[in-house]
């Protein structure tokens, strides 16, 4: 297990390294003019511009720049933001937004997991009944209606009927987070309901469920101990990845409700040529993704005894 973990970690590090390098090179290929704001481009002379670029090290040959980037990153120096919050440390710029996104994302995922799995279980128990039809209709609705339309519907309903604030406000964090969080969880609720039902119905037709019935076990026991437990295994594999992708923030949702989260940051960073921010973000996202996949595998091993990390020789 330890050997495997170390191997996986090294692989992950290499992946992150690769992604960071590629992003770095891509960023350097963008036209340098984007580095300046319109004001600066108009007011600064050609020479001044060149000086600034040189001071930022942007005119060095690419390998040199890349090496500097590695050095700084190893020292955990992620640089300062240039355009998004001029002069502020990138870590600080991302930090605040990360907290907001993570809080919303984690809450949304928990809600989605509970509601989604419950709905899926309800659908299975009530197969071809009212709950099942409702669940199917809900899933189809969420998946077929464009996200922005369902967000708009929620916003109208939330503000007109429930009187919730439509815009995020740092003074009323709780109240103003309700709608964004609900919007964030909407898609996942449908997803988990769909998969839970699917895997549970799969399990229901298995021979060992029949045997459990022949043993004289009650329907409730069978559902809980055999069907749900087994159906949950394939779901667990995706959980960490899902969790990490939600804390990364949702651009659509955060823009829609003006939540100061991390979602829109990457796009802004790229368009504004805020190199440090983009690089740091890509390292962060890559790490989250790799970590998610790793945790998924670990969970899978814990839940499914058939999967073992040991190679054949080790297990003997």
């Amino acid at each position: 297990m330890l050997k495997y973990t170390i191997k996986r970690l090294l692989q992950s590090l290499f992946t992150v390294f690769l992604i960071a390098s590629i992003i770095f090179i891509l960023m350097r290929m963008l036209p340098v003019e984007n580095y300046f704001t319109e004001d600066e481009a108009m007011n600064l002379t050609e020479e001044q511009q060149q000086d600034i670029l040189e001071a930022a090290g942007l005119l060095d040959p690419l390998p040199v720049q890349l090496l500097d980037f590695y050095k700084d990153t190893l020292k955990l120096d992620f640089g300062t933001s240039r355009r998004i919050q001029k002069g502020a440390l990138v870590v600080d710029v991302i930090g605040d937004k990360f907290t907001v996104s993570m809080r919303n994302g984690a809450t949304a995922l928990c809600i989605a997991l509970v509601l989604g799995v419950l709905l899926g279980v309800g659908q299975t128990l009530n197969k071809e009944g009212i709950i099942d039809h409702f669940g199917t209709a809900f899933t189809i609705f969420v998946n077929s209606v464009p996200t922005i339309v369902s967000f708009a519907l929620i916003m109208v309903f939330g503000s007109k009927v429930l009187g919730l604030p439509t815009l995020y406000s740092s003074r009323k964090v709780m109240m103003s987070s309700i709608m964004p969080i609900f919007c964030l969880s909407l898609g996942s609720i449908a997803g988990y309901a769909l998969w839970t039902r699917r895997y549970m119905v799969d399990e229901l037709n298995k021979d060992y469920i029949k045997l459990a019935k022949i043993k004289g076990l009650s329907r409730g026991k069978i559902m809980l101990k055999h069907v749900l437990k087994n159906a949950f295994v394939p779901l667990t594999q995706y959980l960490p990845a899902a969790f990490l992708s939600t804390i990364g923030g949702s651009m659509l949702c955060e823009t829609f409700f003006s939540v100061p989260g991390m979602g829109p940051l990457l796009t802004t960073g790229v368009t504004k040529y805020d190199i440090s921010v983009v690089q740091t973000l890509s390292i962060l996202y890559a790490s989250l993704g790799v970590l998610g996949a790793f945790l998924g595998d670990v969970l899978m091993i814990i839940f499914d005894p058939r999967i073992s990390l040991l190679t054949k020789e080790e297990s003997r």
Partner: protein
């Protein structure tokens, strides 16, 4: 043969609804099970062997139901059972079942010991350590060495034969009165088959169970059964002691079945087969269901369904051949040869 009937099915009719149509899988089928006996039900695929016995435990698929007849067990008519609650008093405790494929009949994510223990806890009300001890004993009893450690292992750590032993342990853990084995050895290789049959036999003696085998394999039948019931198109067409069926069968379907056994074949000649297909159970069957495939049908076979004719107190067949008015018909040669051979061997 003792006369202690444990279960008595009478004129059972089972119907399935399939794509809006009604299919009668079991047509007035009757069967008595005696205490401690071993009965083998044979017949081709689709003849209703499994369906008929599944109705004793309420394990029919959702689209199937018993629409007629009675299944008397312990003073109650199981055919009238509607609720799962009622069945839960029968399943496991009184009537248990071993399924065909041991590779799929155990939960892959639960230690095997736990799966046996579940059955013990449910049916005997014994919990915790005590139940665990019993589960380990049960594992030992079905011939699994190192049971203490094996208790915590998962099905994938067992071979096919070992898994079938575990399935048997689950079924027998509650000492049921009747054990139905639905092709228990089909998925196993031949050497393991014999071991499993022997194991079931030993457990049967120890717990005084009635065992019902459902099988295609007449070799198994000859080895283990006291009595044989031959099923065709949802009915038992002939039943009798194993010798009566193997050496003195009277139903033309039983003849055809026996004749197609490789053991009876002549080297160099093609093996006899039964022409045609079983009747379509979506339609009402007129006369004898086997008439269309019978090489020597009587005129009445197409008109009227034959009743059971008694050949001996233990042997009955549902064919007009046995009617006193029927023309004289001889049993196929193989039966005579078999009888002669046996007589020579005995002499």
């Amino acid at each position: 043969m003792n006369n202690n009937i444990v279960l008595s099915a009478k004129d059972v009719e089972i119907q399935f609804s399939l794509r809006g149509r009604e299919l009668k899988a079991i047509r007035k089928c009757s069967l008595d099970l005696y205490k401690g006996e071993t009965l083998a039900i044979v017949g081709e695929s689709g003849s209703g062997k499994s369906v008929f016995t599944k109705s004793f435990l309420g394990m029919l698929d959702a689209n199937g139901k018993v629409i007629g007849g009675s299944i008397m067990y312990d003073g109650e008519d199981l055919a009238t059972y509607k609720k799962e609650k009622q069945w839960m008093n029968i399943r496991g405790k009184k009537i248990a079942m071993v399924m065909q494929d041991p590779m799929t009949s155990l939960n892959p994510l639960m230690p095997v010991g736990k799966q046996i223990q579940e059955s013990i806890t449910r049916n005997q009300g014994i919990k915790g350590k005590e139940a665990k001890k019993m589960a380990i004993e049960m594992l030992e009893k079905v011939g699994i060495p190192d049971a203490e450690n094996r208790y915590n292992q998962y099905p994938h750590e067992f071979s096919g034969g070992m898994r079938q032993r575990v399935v048997i342990a689950i079924a027998v853990a509650c000492q049921p009165e009747i054990l139905i084995c639905d092709e228990p050895t089909t998925a196993l290789d031949v050497t393991i088959q014999a071991q499993i049959l022997k194991l079931i036999r030993n457990l049967q003696v120890e717990y005084n169970m009635t065992v019902v085998y459902i099988t295609h394999d007449l070799g198994v039948v000859a080895n283990v059964a006291d009595r044989v019931a031959v099923m065709y198109a949802g009915q038992i067409v002939e039943y009798g002691l194993v010798d009566e069926i193997f050496y003195d069968a009277w139903h033309p379907y039983t003849w055809a079945l026996m004749s197609s056994l490789p053991q009876y074949g002549v080297k160099g000649e093609p093996l006899p087969t039964i022409d045609g297909t079983p009747p379509n159970l979506f339609y009402e069957i007129k006369g004898d269901a086997f008439a269309a495939r019978n090489k020597m049908p009587l005129a009445i076979d197409f008109e009227e369904e034959p009743p059971y004719f008694e050949i001996s107190p233990t042997h009955k067949a549902k064919t007009w051949y046995l009617d006193p008015r029927a023309p004289k018909i001889e049993q196929p040669k193989i039966f005579r040869e078999m009888r002669e051979r046996r007589m020579r061997e005995e002499a």
